[in-house]
């Protein structure tokens, strides 16, 4: 699916190679007319909006979000069926975090669903979107047209990264909202017991759920930067996606090998499940801080590496 076909803002069809202005955003026509002039700051937002709309409207993106939305439904129904007779879900502590508390309070389905999707589903979706960001454009032959518009390479890269980050948040919220709806339909809601044994009100629990969703989304920005960097290395979108998802899986496996414990604190996935610490009372911040610091580091390192690569790259397609 090429950019020109899906872009609702494109003025010309895919065949018209001679008209290199397919992505003019509203309010930016003047800038397009004189390409040498520096674009107005508003142009950035036009570009970002155009990117967001293009990304979200893709069938591939919608399918990914659909899969993510189904996970909480499956978990919720499975727990409901298992505890039908009024018994509690006793897994002897097996399964994703919080799963044994779902029957008391539907809100715990949000945490369980995020704990179940964070190790693989969520980063895979982000890897697909991030890997496709630059390489997909290059592969479809639309990258050069994007650069014709006076966006500039740095600005285009930033916009792409902002779009991927927005997708991280969107994907997390899809899981959380779907889990909240399923949890409310299948299980009782009300005051909840934190994992430290204290009780908090439902409103506070909801606040913590939102905070957890935000932390989970931020946990993915490291993968997003890594995916974007990989995406600048190749002209094949599929290769970039496969590499990103492959790296993700490799790191997750390495994180399980005890002999590598000295390296593990530097793996981007190492502190992912620390979001559960937000359900302690008082909140245990140590690992959360480490996680966010690590994600910022990955974003900085691979973001600048992507910038170094992309701004010096020959655009041949």
């Amino acid at each position: 699916m090429s950019r020109a076909e899906t872009d609702p803002l494109s003025e010309k069809g895919p065949g018209s190679e001679a008209a290199p202005a397919p992505r003019a955003a509203p309010g930016a026509e003047a800038a397009v007319a004189s390409a040498v002039r520096r674009p107005s700051p508003l142009w950035t937002f036009g570009l970002l909006r155009s990117e967001l709309v293009t990304t979200v409207r893709r069938w591939r993106t919608l399918a990914l979000l659909g899969v993510l939305a189904v996970v909480p439904v499956l978990v919720g129904i499975a727990v409901k069926i298992e505890t039908r007779g009024g018994g509690s879900a006793d897994h002897g502590g097996q399964g994703p975090a919080f799963i044994s508390q779902i029957t008391n309070n539907g809100l715990f389905l949000v945490f369980t669903a995020l704990a179940a999707t964070l190790p693989f589903f969520l980063p895979m979706a982000v890897g697909v979107v991030a890997g496709d960001a630059i390489a997909g454009e290059a592969g479809a032959g639309t990258l050069r047209y994007l650069l014709v518009a006076p966006a500039g390479r740095t600005r285009l890269l930033l916009t792409k990264y902002a779009t991927v980050t927005a997708f991280c948040l969107l994907a997390t919220l899809v899981v959380a909202v779907s889990a909240l709806i399923v949890g409310a339909l299948l299980f009782p809601l009300g005051d909840l017991t934190t994992i430290s044994g204290t009780r908090i009100s439902f409103a506070e629990g909801l606040g913590r759920a939102l905070l957890i969703a935000l932390v989970v989304a931020l946990s993915l920005v490291g993968v997003a930067a890594l995916g974007l960097f990989v995406s600048t290395l190749t002209n094949s979108g599929i290769a970039a996606m496969a590499t990103t998802v492959g790296l993700l899986t490799t790191v997750q496996i390495l994180d399980q090998i005890p002999q590598l414990h000295a390296l593990q604190p530097y793996f981007f996935s190492h502190y992912w499940l620390s979001f559960a610490d937000l359900m302690r009372d008082p909140v245990y911040w140590d690992d959360l801080q480490k996680n966010l610091g690590l994600q910022a580091l990955y974003a900085a390192v691979f973001g600048t590496a992507a910038w170094a690569r992309f701004t010096a790259k020959d655009i041949s397609a």
Partner: protein, 402 residues
Amino acid sequence: MAPYESDDAVDVARDENPHAGRRKAARYAVPVAVVGVAAATIGLVPALAASGDPDLPKITAKQLIDKIAKSDVQQLSGTVKISTDLGLPNLGGLESSLGSGAGKGSGGGSSADPQAKLTELVSGTHTLRVAADGPDKQKVSLLESGSEYSLIHDGANVWGYDSKTNSVTHSTSAETGKDRRAEQPPVTPKDFADQALKAVDGTTSVTVDGTEQVAGRAAYKLLIKPRQSGTTVGAISIAVDSKTGMPLKFTLTPKSGGAAVVDAGFTEVSFARPAASTFAFTPPKGAKVTEQKKGAAAREHDGFKPGEGFAQGHDKGTVIGKGWTSVATFDTGARGGLPSGGSKAGDLSGFLGSLGDKVSGKFGKGTVFSTRLVNVLMTDNGKVYAGAVTKDALVKAANEGK
């Protein structure tokens, strides 16, 4: 070249000149610099934070021990990190099956059973949270990945809550205060320090070994060293808060060197009154609640207490020798040397036998199991000798005890 008509056009236009390659390479210096700065930060910040031991007035060991004895901290909350490295062989699945078997035997099989949880502390690194408000309200939580085990003492009620399995144990206790406290597992550096100070007598050298910062507080370091030979204990170091006299960090190093056997210290501590809600507990809806008979909790704690074996004997047996080289002995009543009682025992004794060293002496024949701290001798006629002593000292004690 239309695609290059952008605000980066100025840079790109220079691509034709011979320095272009170098300019391209220079861009990669940015991510490299980011990595460098991050590495420097990770390496230097702890070093800077650790530097500069606090300046405190000189104090004698006697004064410092008095300070600990007088310390009466009623309100505190904090985070404790405990690392234990007894050098036990990694038993993997067998260890957990033994643990669960023991838990089921004594406590009704609930995973919120304090005894079952306590055995987890014997190896590895654990983070605990402790909170206390007077003698009637205490809480100890063992932080696990995505779950937590809490032991809450609130007045007459003692709750154990395991969030992983959503199960609760409950026992009531008429006893309060110090008695109750003593029954709880030793998890804070103070618990360990109390045990260690019990052993201070003529066989021990106690010195003040400078100062250090622990959990952001200035602390004195008390160094306890056994004078006797034959013990496996190398040294015990206790960091004592200079203001409250509260032990903040406890480190036990074995004579054989290497990593500390027990290292328990606050990483965060506050002496303010914890929120009352910390100690309030009502079992969550749908949780499996196991009621424990009165006194059951006390009985359970007769089991293994980390860090205690070196200081005092087993309460059911007799103690041979004194000070650091004391050896606890008791009769299991089981012939054949190794514990029997379950259908598993046959396999188990064979397996355990392969882990130990066969020894013989005046006492007969037996097997010695060694860890980095405690050595245990099981004789073939069912006697058990245990102590923080070397293998030779253990055999000698067994010979004398015969």
